[in-house]
Symmetry: C2
Subunit: 136 residues, 2 copies
Amino acid sequence: MDKAQLKKAGLKVTLPRIKILNILEASDENHLSAEDIYKSLLLNSEQIGLATVYRVLTQFEAAGIVNRHHFDGGQSLFELNRGGHHDHLVCVECGKIVEFVEEIIEERQKSVALEHGFTLVHHSLTIYGICPDCQP
Amino acid sequence: MDKAQLKKAGLKVTLPRIKILNILEASDENHLSAEDIYKSLLLNSEQIGLATVYRVLTQFEAAGIVNRHHFDGGQSLFELNRGGHHDHLVCVECGKIVEFVEEIIEERQKSVALEHGFTLVHHSLTIYGICPDCQP
DNA sequence: ATGTATGCAAAACATTTGCACCTGG
DNA sequence: CCAGGTGCAAATGTTTTGCATACAT
């Protein structure tokens, strides 16, 4: 249940937060921009400002409820954190996003950080390509 | 010689382009923002607008002369393309950037793209961590 | 000469913030 | 009740664009 998730993060259970969480959960596309979410709220006739969407998403990010990605092209995309870490394959033609997990790459990244004396915080791997549907 | 590089890209050899190329080559920091370059030009008392810096960098990117990176935090960083592909390790404390090459990771990325039927275009791997100097 | 480039100012975006009002616990 | 949350509008930071002028070939 969503409300517990919010409380655990020390956030009051407010209508905007619940609505936004619902949209993230219900969307068939896992990666949404703040604008996408805002439009979605408008469609549902919700009276929520874009600024609030950004504020809520930023708080959700800090609470580990969502992850923020900066793929090529201006805006950030937000994805519900469903637990398992994964990286992304993005189609440069149609924008489709495919998630993948590659244990070997994860391992090697840890080694690289270690070799350079870095304490690993997080990482971002995005492969850009042309998906099967956009192939000539 | 720089001029040949510009001509080869179909770009006229103009003063702003040469100056910007010089700054990229001369800087001891390989990764500069448009603003960094602009400030650098001002220090050298060059009369070049920020808009021109952006236009030139965008053209350089299209010509393969520089690479553009979107690390965490607003602006883009530009790096002279010296040939060898590499990925980046970024310190979240001080912003230091270390380049690295990891053949195994490169290989696995190709496999991942292939397995999903994607034609690989390019990729971006950034590891964020805390560098030795910023370690507590 | 002539098509490109440039400078400047203004526009366009994505995101953040100030502030008065509202609301959840 | 009251700290925290929200809406709106205005501010911000970065990058792009329109347009008249200047320059490379």
